[in-house]
Amino acid sequence: MGEMKHEYPLLYPLLPILLLVPILKLAGWESIDAAFLVVTIPLLIFPTILIIGQIYNKNQVWKNKWKEGGILALGALAVSLTIALWILFDYLYGDSHFSNQSTITWFEWITFDFLQSDYTISQESRIIGVGVWIDQVTLMILFVATFLCFLICWFSMGYMNTDPINEDRNHRFYAEFVLFSMGMFGMVLADSFLWLFIFWEIMGLCSYLLIGFYYWKVSAAYAAKKAFLTTRIGDVFLMVGLFILYDIYGSLDFEVIFDDPSTGVTGALVDSNQLFWALLLLFVGAVGKSAQFPLHVWLPDAMEGPTPVSALIHAATMVNAGLYLVARMVPFVDIHHHGVPGLENLGIIIALIGGITAFMAALIAFVQNDIKKVLAYSTMSQLAYIFTGLGVALWFYNTDHHHAAMIAFGASMFHLFNHAMAKGMLFMASGSVIHEVHHAHDHIHQDNHQDHNFDPQDMRNMGGLAAKMPITATAMMFGSMSIIGVPLIGGFWSKEGIIAETWKAAIEYEPIMIIPAILILATAGMTGFYMSRMWFMTFAGEPKNDVVNHVHEATPWIREPLLILTVITAIGGFGLALFDIIHFLSADIDHLKMHGFVYTLEHAFLPSDMNTRLVGWTTILLSFIIGPIIAARIHGGKLKEGTKAIALISWLVSLSGKFGHQNVENISKSQFSEALQNRLYFDDAYEYVISKTVIPFANLSAWFDRTIIDGIIKQVESKSVSSSLQVRKITTGSARDYILMAAVGMISIFILIWGVS
């Protein structure tokens, strides 16, 4: 292992990007006018990288100076980030023209007329346009997306370009990466449900491409297909939902629909039943995209992709698309502002699905040994939290509990932010671990690269890494804390809000809500367990494999993002909570306001409502105390003699060894554990059903087409040939027969003539 290398000079070509905003401002652009650049620059860079990469593949300059396109991709993302920040600041502190919700249309995509039910053509043509829609939620997710895309691209230059397996293939990675970013930015900025869906699908494509980046691996190709198809199922329902929405409102533009969701295009009141179906179908799409029960099976497999992909797509950004979509449903149900009453069931269904998924994913995460799989299930579980929160918010909105609804909504969105930051970082950190372990392994076994028995992702090969990888361990610690909901750290503020509001709904208004409420409360504790378990297994205890001793944190480009995100996770959440982001996100107030330190703390820990207070403390107890302690009892332990971790994490390592040790061999051999290992048999069941229905039916169809439909044609053909031979046999060659036939014909003519007349 060489020295830690810095390659910052490579970034010099990107420096002019810093001047972008000033130049645009000088040119008289508004920030919102520049919004399209957020999408188009990555879109243009995508083919650029692909084509240049294909042409200059294996070229040394391209490889070393341009990182096989990494620098270009980073530049594109830097532009997007810059402009996103510009928009953000403009929105927060800019001129008055930038109101609460701003929209701008770029061009008209398709225009058409409509035949109304009274057989007249609608007077004005309807337009499906392309434009930008900006409000608080957009801004928050846009920031998350641009920021994480940028950081993870940065990270990739270290992670991807140093792995020999990726050599000469990285241009494909970066191209797909920027294309994905384009999809994400586009989806967030889109000003209509249709364009939301379009970019949503683009992301699906990129997810497919990136999961299948190691296309030669059977498992990767399979996982890519599975991911695409599973989300596709949801997408189809989503599409039908869009059709219904279109039918109701005559447009899919946010501006038109959100203006007054209670009246349809005809001016009549919207039928809540129809709208319910539309929104439910949209939610099915969200379920697919965000890997919720029962369309969750693709996400764990998706970890076959390179780790930056897992970090970006399957943790931080794309999976949030479903949440974003559900968040966009608020105006429909907000009966305070022209919402449609009678949609309570929607919120309940969403909350239920969320609760079930949260619990199930957490359960499965208990037994995972692959570090990325743990994170994947954790992602699923945390997303489910947000769904629950959104479901509760929708329910509150629809039952006219405006304030509670806003808190639930804001908390959910805030959790999205926290989770994205933390999970992105966790994945990067895990990537760092995997990368270094892998390197170390290759370093030891230089002669034998093809040792496939060693899995660098398996936590049973790790342990004690805290001493070897201080930055990574720190980052992972803060990330896990945020996910667990350790008080004061990022995720705590949001998660607590979600749980509290769910309980509030359950206790005070809607008994059914008790199911998700209990489930997510239990999940909070389970989260504490499995996140701690992961950390302890990886970083604490004695090294379980010789490889660990050779691990160094030596790869460039990896540390910076980890550090930045660690800071954001550790302090950012708290800071934003202080600014009362929860209310900001739910559009309660125009701008962020400092709430005051004490007020915030009091509000969080000692709410006036007794029930809320009880729930809050139970959550803290479960997630912060019980879960981690159990994990520490099983997996914790001191580091190997002679090794030492930095101060920031050594307390945790040593703490983990203080709770004694518990042997769980019996439990891990139980049937339940086996079921969990097999992911509760969902994948098997799906596989079985498909192999028993879809494939035989397809073969049957092909058979039917070949032998019946085409068979009829072939029958006609062969029958014609055989009858032709028969007909030809009548011509015997004997003139007597010919005369006889003629005579017979003659007589039959007469019979015909006289018989008829």
Partner: protein, 562 residues
Amino acid sequence: MNSLSDISLELLIPESIMIIGILTMILIPNLGDAKIRIPLTNTSVPVFIGGTRFTQVNNPFIPSIVAIITFTLSFFMSLIMLQGAKNGEIGQIMEVNQFTTLFSLIFTSALLMTSIATFYRMPPKQNPEIPQDKDTESSASAKIRILMNNRRQVDFYILLLMVGLGMCLMSKSTHLFLLFVCLELASLSSYVLVGFYKESDIGGEAGTKYFIVGSVASAIGIYGMSLLYLWNGNLQIDSLTSSWSTMENLDPFAGIGVGLMLVAFGFKVGAAPFHLATPDAYSGASSPIAGLLATASKAMGFVAIMKILLIITSPEEGVEAYWFIAIALISVITMTWGNFAALTSVNPKRMLAYSSVAHAGYMLAAIAAIGSGLGDYNSNVLIITALIFHLTILVLFKFGAFLVLTLLENEGLTHNMDGLKGLTRRDPVIAISMFIFMLSLAGIPPLSGFLSKLLMINGIVNVSAGTGSVSSATVLTWMTSVNVVFWLALSIVINSAISLFYYLRVGLLMFFEEPVVEGPLAKSIYLRITIIACAIFTLLLGIGPLSESLLEIANEAAQSLL
């Protein structure tokens, strides 16, 4: 009333040319230095007949050249007559009008093509030697064979001219008996021509069968005609027509008579079930003769059928002709039989024969549509126009196909499809021409075969589509209410679809298979020109101004027929 001066010979110029041609052909090869001594004197006067022939007339190509010149002349004379619309009656037994002139044109053009084709088919030897005593037996017989071969030239072309004469006169006759006599003249000559295929041992058999069956058919026809005579006492077509239209109930003599005559003409056109000898005859005859049978001979049969069915027994408007059902059924059987039999034929000539049978079926269907009595004068004219048009262009592509086979026949490869294999590689121009002929036979646009088929179907649709109940609201009620004629159109199109199979198979063989014999075909320059001209006209007559003018001519002809 009848005086010789009434007979305006100018109306019979084509026929006169043919007669002169026959005489010339008899005379020229016999010109020699023979002298006759004037009795009682010693002076010998040259009579130029017999003796040692002049070397100039000794050329064995002379008969074919004479035939070609004769047919060319009468072709152009007919054309001029057609242009000048020279019409008139000759005595009371013949009439010249646009119809007859057009058919003269059809006959002469077909015969012209036959002569051109046979010019290369039976090449005589130049300067044959006379066998000497010192020759061995074999060399002597070889020399004799050559001499005989050369001799046959004259026989062949005389018969050809006879066929032309018979056909041309037949189309002009307005007297049933004359019609029959001329028909016999043409038929008997054509029987011999079929048997003339001496290169192969099947010529005799083909001639015999064709002759026997044909003779039976003519005998039946003559008997039917005699019944008509018994019924009417006069065989003038005008007289028969007026008697028929005044006849209250169907007289058995008349009915049976017409029916029996249909048998004779049905044999000529190759209608099922009287067609059985046609494939044998076509495959046994040499290709040019088979082409002649398929075009001119068939046209002759249709002229006769039209005269009988559409003039004598023409249905009144709104009344179904008594033969309608019979002809309709025959037409359907004919086209189906022909197509199905052709489907698997391995002999190209047989295949073309069956296809010719199928085409007869289509034309009979058109005649049946007139017989339904549904159409008015205009729509009947339209159908006849279609028929005439079809018969005219048939000379182009049907004969064209036989001409291509003629080219191949020199290699002895026309008994099965092998000869056509790989033709594109051997001779692309000929192969493409053949492909065009096949497509035209199948009725693929924009070739002329399509236009004629379209016109026939249109004629049928024209008379029948209006018959369905106007008030019918569903497809089924309409389908049950429409006249049966409409379904003839459907049977035609379905049959065309079936026929496509074997026409395309020819293309398949030509484009796809390896040739059996390598190397280009025989040069035969005039034959090639004829084939290419046929192909070009097949294209040009399909669409555009040329087809327009031909249609107008056919339309005038049809009007003059009715």
